[in-house]
């Protein structure tokens, strides 16, 4: 029964995707759109195959930098969020400033990242981290603040230390919200990485997805543009899936949001 449900969970988006692709293929062919404007999905698949070596290298480069940026934002975000959530002074003084991170126009500061971190991975990782860290901080803070007051009082009543309270009460209670933040961050990290690549990526045979997109646009190879965009989405999807899987593993035995009877 559970196996059939899982199959359904996978089949539904898969079938929807195929249906949308089929409609797009039909629409583009009926409208006789030129491939330099709107390539039919079959042309995108053809580009995925014919340029597989370049796209694999590009995807690997973008995926590793995205993952590194995401991990950095996860560690820093949870750490900062925990500190801010546990301290009234930090919450008043520091938390409003973290909101700035959300409002920073990455497009404007991305070139500066190149100056600060140099060309290549470091700047791309920094870009991915900056874009994705805010939801992690915000959700961690909210999670810690949402701990049941009665439980807090219970811990105080039993004389639990600050460390024990954090470790045994606040962190576990905040985990569902932390994972919500991490799932949002997973998608944002890809966007940050691609923007970082636009300004500081290597433009050679080992170019990342962001550079492949820019190069292909210049050469009017729209099938390759869409193939690269699709692959960047897959990177985000894989990261999102990994975080969701980890969240389920950690929460499934006790939290209502992922518990299965």
């Amino acid at each position: 029964m559970v196996g059939r449900a899982r199959l359904g969970t996978l089949a539904a988006p898969g079938l929807t995707f195929v249906l949308v692709a089929a409609i797009a293929e039909l629409g583009i062919r009926l409208a006789e759109l030129p491939a330099y404007l709107a390539p039919p999905p079959s042309e995108v698949v053809r580009a995925l195959w014919s340029e597989r070596a370049q796209l694999l290298t590009a995807t690997w480069s973008t995926a590793t930098n995205t993952a590194a940026g995401f991990l950095l934002s996860a560690c820093l975000g949870v750490g900062l969020g925990a500190a801010v959530g546990s301290s009234r002074w930090l919450r008043r003084g520091f938390y409003p400033l973290t909101n700035i991170l959300q409002m920073v126009p990455l497009v404007a500061i991305a070139p500066l990242l190149t100056l600060w971190f140099g060309y290549g991975s470091s700047a791309v990782i920094a870009s991915a981290c900056i874009v994705s860290i805010f939801p992690v901080i915000a959700n961690t803070v909210d999670g810690i603040q949402s701990v049941d007051l009665h439980l807090r009082e219970l811990f105080q009543l039993y004389g639990a230390s600050r460390w024990d309270t954090w470790r045994k009460l606040e962190l576990p209670a905040a985990l569902p919200q932390i994972f919500t933040g991490l799932r949002i961050a997973a998608g944002l990290a890809v966007i940050g990485a691609i923007v970082g690549e636009f300004v500081s990526g290597y433009v050679g045979d080992d170019a990342p997805i962001g550079i492949v997109i820019l190069s292909s646009l210049r050469e009017a190879r729209m099938n390759l543009v869409f193939a690269a965009i699709g692959l960047s989405a897959m990177v985000g999807f894989a990261l999102f899936g990994s975080v969701s899987w980890l969240g389920n593993r950690l929460l499934r035995h006790w939290h209502a949001s992922v518990r299965t009877e």
Partner: protein
């Protein structure tokens, strides 16, 4: 029959707009907001003065000096044209906007005309603002790099805009030697901070800006390598060219007069462009304009005119570097007007 054609046309326009959305959103995240092409769709061409739009592919700089001169000095108006010059930015798809009729005229690279034409786009070059390819590389004066051959070697880092065919040409010409290529969006900040960095540039524009900042640089023109396409090309769609050849003719006349005036005295036009583009000072524009003359005039002949032989050579070069599979017929790529 007619209704099925118009229905197909409607579907085509709708799907084109939708299909463009995705890459446009990706690009717009890393570029400044560009002029909205949609408003171009609702234009109406009235007979007097006739309104047309000209989409630039970059911000106002001396490479467009003659175009702005045609407006400032009234040459467009004299030809009965009201030309709206739309500022560009990095990533603005000027060739596609032009070929699909979203704007009447667009500034494109010569290579883009060949590439798009080879993919079936109805795009035709009608005026080449630059007869000699004005792109090149700048290196700091203290750099040991003195020639293109010195530049295209391991151990050198060169900042280039991704996808430029002349970079592929350099790779092919100096193979197997290859420098480390990094992304550039045209800003000079990284170049100023990094003495060892070389950067692709307009050979008169960035060096002029840097000279004013007292940063001595050496310029290595790409044309020296044998890659010498027409540049800053005014293009239009085949449909517009077929329907309104007289409009194109009048625009070309105005452009020719504009460039002649600009080369003679660029100061007034540079003052206008400096207001439109605070990123480049008027002094830098004056200096750049003084260096642009040989690139605009080339080997002589009427300003803006093009030859079949040069388009043929460009097609062959783009095939050689793998940018296209087959070169389109050279005569299909351009049209000269008196």
């Amino acid at each position: 029959m007619k209704s099925s054609v118009s229905c197909r046309h409607l579907v085509r326009r709708t799907v084109v707009s939708t299909a463009w959305l995705l890459p446009w959103l990706v690009l717009s995240s890393c570029t400044e907001a560009a002029s909205t092409p949609k408003s171009a769709q609702s234009k109406t061409l009235s007979p007097k003065p006739e309104r047309v739009r000209l989409q630039l592919n970059w911000v106002p700089e001396p490479e467009f000096g003659g175009i702005y001169a045609a407006q400032v000095d009234g040459f467009f108006a004299k030809e009965g044209l009201e030309v709206e010059i739309l500022k560009g930015a990095a990533g603005v798809p000027s060739p596609q906007l032009t070929s699909e009729g979203q704007v009447e005229f667009g500034i494109v690279g010569g290579d883009q005309v060949v590439v798009l034409r080879s993919r079936g786009a109805p795009l035709t070059a009608v005026y080449a603002c630059f007869q000699t390819f004005p792109r090149g590389f700048i290196v700091h004066d203290a750099s040991p790099v003195r020639t293109l051959q010195d530049l295209w070697k391991e151990g050198v880092t060169v900042a280039v805009e991704p996808g430029l065919p002349f970079v592929k040409w350099m790779n092919r010409t100096f193979a197997p030697s290859k420098p480390t290529l990094v992304a550039s969006q045209g800003s000079l900040t990284a170049f100023l901070q990094t003495p060892a960095l070389a950067q692709a540039a307009f050979v008169f524009s960035e060096p002029a800006e840097l000279a004013l900042r007292k940063v001595p640089v050496r310029t290595l023109p790409v044309a020296d390598s044998g890659y010498d396409p027409y540049s800053v090309v005014v293009a239009t769609s085949d449909a517009f060219l077929r329907k309104r050849p007289d409009t194109v003719r009048r625009l070309i006349r105005a452009l020719r007069a504009g460039w002649t005036a600009y080369l003679a005295d660029p100061s007034k036009v540079n003052a206008v462009m400096a207001k439109l583009n605070p990123g480049m000072s008027r002094e830098a524009m004056d200096r750049a304009a003084s260096l642009a003359d040989p690139f605009v005039r080339g080997q002589g002949g009427p300003l803006g005119a093009m030859t079949e032989a040069r388009w043929k050579t460009l097609g062959e070069q783009l095939v050689a570097v793998g940018a296209i599979e087959h070169a389109p017929k050279a005569t299909s790529l351009f049209r000269n007007f008196d």
